[in-house]
């Protein structure tokens, strides 16, 4: 029972640039069985992606993209809050630069995945940008925009607009 209590999710103190709290959850649970099953992904995507680091439940894709890998952000509304309050603006794919954020949307328009662009579209990559993102409880991976288990047909890119940000 003590173990059970220790494994309860935890929260971090985290604010947006507008000083509003960002809801987050730091999961601590990962079983050896789950780790073993990650070999499925290693086998399926291994030839096309580069895994950086081991599987961890502590943060998810949004936690990697927006919270410095310290915790997980699990609500689309919270991601939208970050985009608004941290002054992100959309960038067309042909203007994407390393460091920009990519969001994957499902068919209903909900944000289902995020990552960071690490290489802009280049002819040698068929003009598809290279992304670093975290896949659920699995690890961080370097992959082409189109090589992941999310809806790759609906993505948008974002960049923080520091010029327009006016601290209160």
């Amino acid at each position: 029972m003590q173990n059970l209590i220790q494994l309860q999710p935890r929260f971090l103190s985290l604010d947006s640039c507008a000083y509003n709290h960002i809801d987050n959850i730091r999961l601590l649970e990962i079983s050896p069985f789950e780790v073993n099953l990650f070999q499925i992904f290693d086998a399926e995507y291994g030839a096309r992606v580069t895994r950086r680091g081991e599987p961890t439940p502590h943060y998810n894709c949004h936690g990697m993209t927006f919270a410095s890998r310290r915790t997980g952000v699990i609500e689309s509304t919270v991601v939208q809050q970050i985009l608004d309050e941290d002054n992100y603006h959309e960038v067309p794919e042909n203007s994407v630069l390393p460091g920009d954020v990519i969001l994957y949307f499902d068919v209903d328009g909900d944000i289902e995945h995020s990552g960071v662009v690490i290489e802009e579209p280049k002819p040698e990559n068929l003009n598809i940008p290279l992304i670093c993102s975290k896949w659920g409880k699995y690890a961080e991976l370097l992959h082409l925009r189109t090589h992941c288990p999310y809806n790759v047909s609906r993505v948008k890119y974002y960049r923080m607009n520091y010029d327009q940000y006016a601290a209160p």
């Binding site: 173990n3 059970l4 494994l7 309860q8 999710p9 959850i25 999961l27 649970e29 079983s31 069985f33 789950e34 073993n36 099953l37 990650f38 499925i40 992904f41 998810n60 894709c61 949004h62 997980g72 699990i74 609500e75 689309s76 499902d106 209903d108 909900d110 944000i111 289902e112 995945h113 995020s114 975290k134 896949w135 659920g136 409880k137 699995y138 288990p149 999310y150």
Partner: protein, 143 residues
């Protein structure tokens, strides 16, 4: 007694492991045919009891199969009547199935009730009536 035979564990485990958010897990599990069959095959009580049983297991001791069954039960409940599900899960400690309550809340906020209310309307034959102040009304069949 829960019947997990319809569940496509391999596919569901893959969905679970790459889920970044509760809505992603909910939508993908709910649209999975094997979960729909699982929900049909088991009663609400079966699903709720199995969910409660797995939730009581220490998370580090759970197999991936048990986690998949737990979330299949949660999503399976979303095919049942909301009022019955609320009653069955109201006192259930689901903290260790971390996204369970969030998924149920998502479903409640988006569900259109499937409960039916039956009205009994007896058939009756209306007699045609002439308006008392209208002499020009001609009724077919006349009164």
């Amino acid at each position: 007694m829960i019947n997990t035979r319809p569940l496509n564990f391999n596919q569901l485990a893959r969905i679970y492991l790459v889920s970044n958010t509760p809505p992603y897990l909910y939508k993908h599990f709910r649209s999975d045919f094997s979960v729909q069959e699982f929900a049909k095959l088991n009663t609400l009580d079966d699903l709720a009891q199995e969910l409660g049983r797995i939730a009581a297991i220490n998370p580090t001791d759970r197999t991936l199969q048990q986690i998949v069954i737990a979330y299949a039960c949660v999503v399976g409940l979303t095919f049942k009547k909301p009022r019955d599900v609320a009653i069955a899960t109201v006192d259930m400690p689901l903290d260790t199935v971390v996204w369970a309550n969030r998924i149920l809340a998502l479903w409640e906020s988006s569900s259109i009730t499937s409960e039916t209310i039956q009205f009994q309307i007896l058939p009756q034959i209306e007699k045609p009536r002439r308006a008392s102040n209208d002499a020009n009304v001609i009724l077919i069949g006349g009164v």
